[in-house]
Each structure stands twice: as structure tokens, then as C-alpha cells.
């Protein structure tokens, strides 16, 4: 479903991602795991076409993101690391706007909002929302178009335990619905609980791609999954 081939992104002398390749199958949940600054966000942004790679290419289904950006993005719903909405708009105005961007009927936007359970806050200004409510609105926008691919960039980075649980439930629900999901995280437990496979990023390179099962089996011989992860990170840290 998603094929990243030899992706490299350089900013002057700095290489953000270096020859990254991976393939995510339809219906698979793939976690990008790695420390801060290891290239997870740049990879995510390259997949959705927000970053132009220095070399390499991304295909979503049969579509090359570089040559068919609009068509490729109809297949993808992306949640940035830090979602910010204009504080002077209501949740309903915002979700309807993003619905209009995808030419979805207004009723669908309203239904998505109702499913997000804002309990009467749908017509309140987003400026009055808590961080958790903003996240719920972000997830509602991502889920609304029923896109076959979800890209979620460190979605739990600044969430309280309730928000983390809500996100996990969301991913499990989408996974059950057959969605292909890529999410980035630096939390091992999250990857272990939600992902089918992980790609470990260190210093802009993908140093390992393993299924969660393989990691579990390997960890039996080498300690915990955390030990295994730290082994990859320390061995490849520049």
C-alpha cells in the first residue's frame, strides 16, 4: 500500500533522512520508532508530500506522491505532531471546512463531530477547548474522510493518560476497519501494543524493520524489547 524507496532528505549539510526504504502492506499497522530527531517526522511529511525529498520516491497504492500529489493525498489522512486550529472558529466550522477540502457532504462532517462526543461544545470556539478536546477534533478530522491510509505523527507526545487511551482505542478501531496505519512514537509500549511491525530510526537511517512478534522472540534471548531497542539505537547512534 505504501512504498518508500531510498528516501533521502538533506537541508544543506544536514541529512534528515538517509536512504530510507520500507514497505507497508494494506491493513498493516507500522510504527516508526526512534529517539527525537531521528527522522520520523521528516519521513511522515515526505510520505504525505509536505516535504520534497532530495532523492527517492514514495508510492501510495499505484500513485507516485511527487507526480500525483493530489490524487495520492485522497488516499491519506494525516495528523501532524502538533495540531493547531484557529481559536476564533468553532469545532463545527473547522470540521466542515476540512470536509469541504475533501468534497465530503456537510452531513458527514456533522456526523463525525457527533461521534467525537463533544457534549455540546461543537459550536464553541476552539480557543476555549482543552488540549484533549483539540486532539479529539484532530482525530475526528483524520477519521472523517475514511481514507485507506492514516499517518499519525507522534499523536500521544503531549497527551494525558486519558488522551493516550483515547488514541489507542482510535487506532485499534481503525485497524479493525482494515486501515493501513503508520504512526511515529518514541514509546516502546505503544508500538508493542498497537503495531504489527516497527521500523527503528536512528540518525536519519532506518536501522531495523521487524515484526512485533520477531522482536518479542528475539527479546526472550536478549532481555526485554526495550533492551533490544536500546541495542539498535546505541549501535547505530552517530
Amino acid at each position: 500500500m505504501i512504498q518508500a524507496e531510498h528516501l533521502t532528505k538533506r537541508y544543506g549539510a544536514f541529512t534528515a533522512i538517509d536512504d530510507v526504504s520500507f514497505h507497508v502492506k494494506r491493513g498493516e499497522v507500522f510504527a516508526l520508532l526512534g529517539p527525537n530527531g531521528s527522522g520520523k517526522t521528516t519521513t511522515m511529511k515526505t510520505i504525505v508530500g509536505l516535504c520534497v525529498p532530495t532523492s527517492g520516491r514514495v508510492r501510495i497504492g499505484d500513485l507516485d506522491v511527487r507526480t500525483h500529489p493530489k490524487e495520492a493525498r485522497t488516499q491519506v489522512s494525516y495528523l501532524p505532531q502538533r495540531v493547531v486550529f484557529p481559536e476564533s472558529l468553532t469545532a463545527r466550522e473547522i470540521i466542515r471546512f476540512y470536509g469541504a477540502m475533501r468534497k465530503l457532504p456537510r452531513e458527514l462532517a456533522d456526523r463525525s463531530l457527533a461521534e467525537a462526543k463533544f457534549n455540546g461544545a461543537s459550536d464553541k470556539l476552539v480557543g476555549e477547548f482543552s488540549g484533549g478536546m483539540v486532539q479529539r477534533l484532530g482525530l475526528a478530522i483524520v477519521a472523517m474522510p475514511d481514507a485507506p491510509v492514516l499517518l499519525l505523527d507522534e499523536p500521544t507526545a503531549s497527551l494525558d493518560p486519558q488522551g493516550v487511551k483515547r488514541f489507542r482505542d482510535f487506532v485499534l478501531e481503525q485497524k479493525a476497519g482494515g486501515k493501513t496505519i503508520i504512526f511515529s512514537t518514541h514509546l516502546l509500549a505503544e508500538a508493542e501494543q498497537l503495531a504489527d511491525r516497527v521500523g527503528i530510526f536512528v540518525g536519519g537511517k532506518i536501522v531495523a524493520q521487524e515484526s512485533i512478534e520477531t522482536l518479542r522472540v528475539s527479546s526472550l534471548a536478549n532481555g526485554t524489547i526495550e533492551d533490544l531497542y536500546l541495542h539498535y539505537v546505541e549501535r547505530n547512534q552517530p
Binding site: 509536505l50 502538533r82 493547531v84 484557529p86 477540502m101
Partner: protein, 276 residues
């Protein structure tokens, strides 16, 4: 290009900007200044009451030339260098970058136009009620040219935002542009003429008008107000060279059109190659 996407982005941008307190403050300040200048202008000449539309238009010209570029550059830079999370979510939608850029430009322009029109309208109502409708057509020329000036500087603000990834740097560049076009350009042009002989200096001065949208609006407004005699022989030569008053205004408007189109095309080129 999908016009419905441009429409939705424009409507979204318009709503956000209309609810922005700074847009409301601009509308109130601009309206108060327009009405105030019209009133103060005639007091200065020993009369009391409101000036006619013609005199008000001439008095307002300087306010428009100073304030509109500054506000347009500020609003445009603020919008196009906005929160990263907002931009990432918006640009990840299945729409083209050009559609988003044009929609945002249209929304910003509409917000600014509504603020300006409310000021011009308030002054217009006051003038009609106290000095009649004489010169209302000339006043409307000023309104149209002011709107074009806003659009020029909003377009320039997009280039500024695209060329500077950091917000503070973008604002610095925007302020420099305002300083350059509004304050420094004419001094620079006059300075250059000191280095040239008579005919060449005249030609240079004439051509220098086209290099500054603020000067273009100034000259076009004065021609439209039949006040080109303020330029003396140079004004007469300008009208003669451009082929009469109507042809002069049309030509100046066409060049203003280029001042809108070129920045938009440059910004589009930059945006296509940029990481969000």
C-alpha cells in the same frame, strides 16, 4: 485548478480574519482617520464642517499610501507564516498548493477590503449628509485604487513569507519593504537624478514611477482627481506621453496588475519547491 477549493479556503480565511481583533481595530482606526481627515482638512483652511468628496480624496491619499501597504504586509505575513500545525494539516489535504495560496490571498483581501470599505463608507455617508455628492465618482476612484494597493502588498507579503521560513525574519523583510516603497524609494529616485543630466533625469524620474506600486497609485489617483497639474510640466508630459487621462489611468492600472500577478507567480514558484 479547482475553484471550489479556492472558494472554501477564501471563506475560511475571511472568517478567521474578520474575527481577528486586529482586523476590527484596523477597520475602526481607518474609519476614524478617514472621517477625521475629511473634517480636519477644511478646518485648516478656516472653514468648519465637512469637505467635499474631491477634497477629501486628495487629503486621504497620503493616509492610504502610508497605512494600506503596512497593514497589508503585516496581515499577509501573519497569515502565510502562521502556525506550523495548521499549515501541515491544511497542505496534507488533497488540494493543490496553488489553490490554498490563492484562496488565502482572496480571503485576506476580502477581509481587508471589508475593513477599508467600512471606513470609506462611513466617511462617505458623513460627507453626503453635510457636503452633498459632488465629486463622489472621484472618491470612488480612490477607493478602487486603495483596494488595488492592498492587493499588491498582500501579494508581496506572500513572497516575503515564502522566502523567509522564520516568522521574525519574514516580518523584518515585510517592514523593510514598506520602508523601501513608502519612504525610501522616492528619495533614492531623486538622488539618482542628481547624477544624470536634464533629459535623462526626466526620463529616469518618469520611468521610476513604474518601479513602485505606491507611486503608481499616487499618480493614478492624482490623474483621476484631475490634480495632475500638481506635477507641473512633468505631469503634463506624462499625460501626453501616455495618451490622455483615461489612457494614462488604464496604463497605470495595467502595471499595477503586473505588480499583483508577478509576486503571486513568484510565490507560487517558491511554494511548489518548499517544504511545509
Amino acid at each position: 485548478m479547482d475553484s471550489s477549493t479556492i472558494y472554501y479556503v477564501a471563506r475560511h480565511e475571511l472568517t478567521v480574519n474578520i474575527r481577528n481583533k486586529w482586523t476590527v481595530i484596523f477597520a475602526l482606526v481607518f474609519g476614524a482617520l478617514v472621517v477625521g481627515i475629511s473634517y480636519v482638512g477644511i478646518i485648516a483652511e478656516g472653514f468648519s464642517g465637512m469637505q467635499s468628496f474631491t477634497r477629501t480624496s486628495a487629503s486621504l491619499l497620503n493616509l492610504v499610501l502610508y497605512l494600506i501597504p503596512l497593514v497589508a504586509l503585516t496581515m499577509g505575513t501573519l497569515s502565510f507564516t502562521g502556525e506550523r500545525g495548521t499549515a501541515e494539516l491544511l497542505f496534507s489535504q488533497p488540494v493543490s498548493r496553488t489553490e490554498i495560496m490563492l484562496g488565502k490571498l482572496a480571503g485576506l483581501f476580502l477581509a481587508m477590503a471589508l475593513s477599508m470599505l467600512s471606513g470609506f463608507l462611513a466617511a462617505g455617508v458623513v460627507i453626503v449628509s453635510s457636503a452633498g455628492t459632488e465629486g463622489i465618482l472621484r472618491y470612488s476612484y480612490l477607493v478602487i485604487l486603495s483596494l488595488l494597493l492592498a492587493l499588491v502588498f498582500l501579494s508581496l507579503s506572500i513572497v516575503v513569507s515564502m522566502a523567509n521560513s522564520r516568522k521574525a525574519k519574514a516580518f523584518g523583510t515585510a517592514l523593510f519593504l514598506w520602508f523601501f516603497f513608502v519612504l525610501f524609494y522616492d528619495i533614492l529616485a531623486l538622488g539618482v537624478t542628481l547624477l544624470l543630466d536634464g533629459p535623462r533625469a526626466n526620463t529616469f524620474l518618469f520611468l521610476s514611477i513604474f518601479g513602485n506600486p505606491v507611486d503608481l497609485v499616487r499618480v493614478a489617483t492624482l490623474i483621476a482627481l484631475d490634480n495632475v497639474t500638481i506635477f507641473g510640466a512633468a505631469g503634463a508630459a506624462l499625460i501626453r506621453f501616455l495618451g490622455g487621462t483615461a489612457a494614462s489611468v488604464l496604463m497605470l492600472l495595467s502595471i499595477l496588475g503586473c505588480w499583483i500577478a508577478l509576486p503571486v507567480l513568484t510565490a507560487r514558484w517558491l511554494l511548489q519547491r518548499q517544504d511545509i
